[in-house]
């Protein structure tokens, strides 16, 4: 494969549109290790949805007001909180929080998804279940502006104090405008007439 080969203009690559799958009822869980694990968790938490994505990958969808209850229940099976990933869905006006758990005893990775509105986003902290959540929550608060109630150390963490309440990882953050205000005339590469601009 030649990385320097320029694509020909005449050759139009066909866009493969993802097929829209009609909504079907939740399929039965497979008779595997993962399926039994999901079934066990869902017995105690009927408000959640769960399915098996593939081998050693499991997924749960939980409403935002029951998230702490669910994670306390899940922490019996899943010993580790690997990461809290935040995805900013601008069109829906929602933040998606993905709590990624790992079970050392069962060797299964779980996504626990929940959605909250973008404006005045608030979540209960999970520091009392996993103390390491403090770091992940500080980062999520700094880059997205989600307030985790009960976490005492929310504040400037990685960014500088002048960048604190800008929330740069949100999709509506005006990156070029911010750079222009900081560097002013020194930033001579900025040209408003250009549309496809990459810093």
């Amino acid at each position: 494969m030649d990385m320097n080969e320029k694509p020909k203009v005449e050759e139009k690559v066909e866009e493969q549109k993802p097929q829209e799958v009609p909504e079907v009822e939740a399929p039965k869980l497979p008779d595997t290790k993962e399926g039994k694990l999901v079934a066990e968790v869902l017995e105690k938490a009927p408000y959640a949805e769960g399915n098996v994505r593939r081998e050693r990958r499991v997924e749960f969808k939980v409403p935002a007001d029951r998230i702490k209850e669910f994670l306390e229940l899940a922490s019996e099976k899943f010993e580790m909180l690997i990461q809290i990933s935040v995805v900013d869905w601008l069109k829906e006006g929602e933040f998606e929080l993905v709590y990624q758990l790992w079970s050392v005893s069962e060797s299964v990775h779980a996504f626990v998804r929940t959605r909250i509105p973008r404006e005045n986003a608030k979540m209960p902290t999970v520091m009392d279940i996993w103390p390491v959540a403090e770091t992940y929550e500080r980062e999520a608060h700094e880059f997205f502006g989600i307030i985790f109630e009960g976490n005492p150390r929310l504040g400037p963490f990685i960014l500088e104090p002048r960048e604190y309440e800008k929330h740069p990882l949100r999709k509506d953050f005006n990156m070029l405008g911010y750079v222009k205000t900081i560097y002013g005339e020194d930033f001579d590469r900025y040209d408003e007439s250009k549309t496809n601009y990459v810093i």
Binding site: V13, P18, I82, S107, V132, T135, L169
Partner: protein, 394 residues
Amino acid sequence: MANLEVPKELKKEAKAHDMYLHPIDKDTYELFFGPQHMATENFSIILKMDGNRVEKAIVNPGFLHRGFEKLAEQRPYFTNIALLLRICVPESDVPENIYSMAVDEIVGWEVPERAQWIRTVVLEMARMSAWMFWIMGFGNEIGLYTAGQWAAAYRERFMRLFEELTGGRVYHIYTVPGGVRRDIPGDKWLRQLRDTVEYIKGKMKDFDEILFDNYITFERTEGVGVMDKRFALKHAVTGPNLRAVGVPYDVRKDDPYLLYPELEFEVPVLKEGDSLARILVRRYEMEQDLYILEQLLDMGPPSGPYMVKDARLKALPRFKPPKGDAYAHVESTKGDFGAYVVSDGTHKPYRVHVRGPSQSHGVTVLEELLKGARLADVPVILKTLDNCPPDIDR
């Protein structure tokens, strides 16, 4: 322990220069450790000291923040590799691999066997050179400079092999979604790799005598920075630090990827949980890595293509995977290194989130372990945890 009053003139002067004066007790003083200090590797810690003892440690990251996750949302999929591999400097192949594996899972590609073999070899070589890098840092902390200089010289041999394979010494933009960028140079390169592995295998005895079986090392590390099992699991500590506590968790065994299911290797576990246990676990893992490399060379590269055949690869900047998300993780020398990639069907990723292992054991765990440590033990605890600041800042 009454607070000393700061003179008004000092306060005025500080205000004029836009500075803030911290209140100081009579018996404690503040010590700023880093970010330019050699031991911290561009990582800043604010220590509240009482004489020679640390009373409180506040981690202050951000010196290496380069905004990779924001930049990755504005570049095409294949361009991101040249960006994301700068997240982990000593092991730049790990971020390449996790990102590529996540994109492979979204698209649904099955990587050819030859590419899998090459990826496994590159990952193990990266692990080996990262161990050498770690010996360099650790040897310099406790004053055994000779071990560090030897390790730097042996790492250079791997750098040379990498340069022949990929064209770069430290940053090899080599692993791409769907395979690798180019084929291995030939049999001569394989012979050189085998010679290097055997050479370093012979040198392990020297490292034992000078560093791992040394009275100085025992004195400085035994009983320093002790963790227990429950604490480590609650704080999501992974990698050699977790195996030093007694949990046999290794991603290569528990969540196999690439060719690791076909290989034979052991997972060393110790149960003491202090600094000495951590460095000994690392020493045993070096042997296992050399053993894995020998096995791979005995297998030999399987024949076939080194890249997936797909019509969409003709126009790389406009390559569009389907909608979806995936999480892939890899066992690095620091721990469990993962990446979460979200695709919304356009030619740029919607969100890339990299999970560095030091995010868990470099902030909260470090603050806990530094309490009550001597000032001379601070670099030792930092180095035995193998804290990698670029993972935290990103």
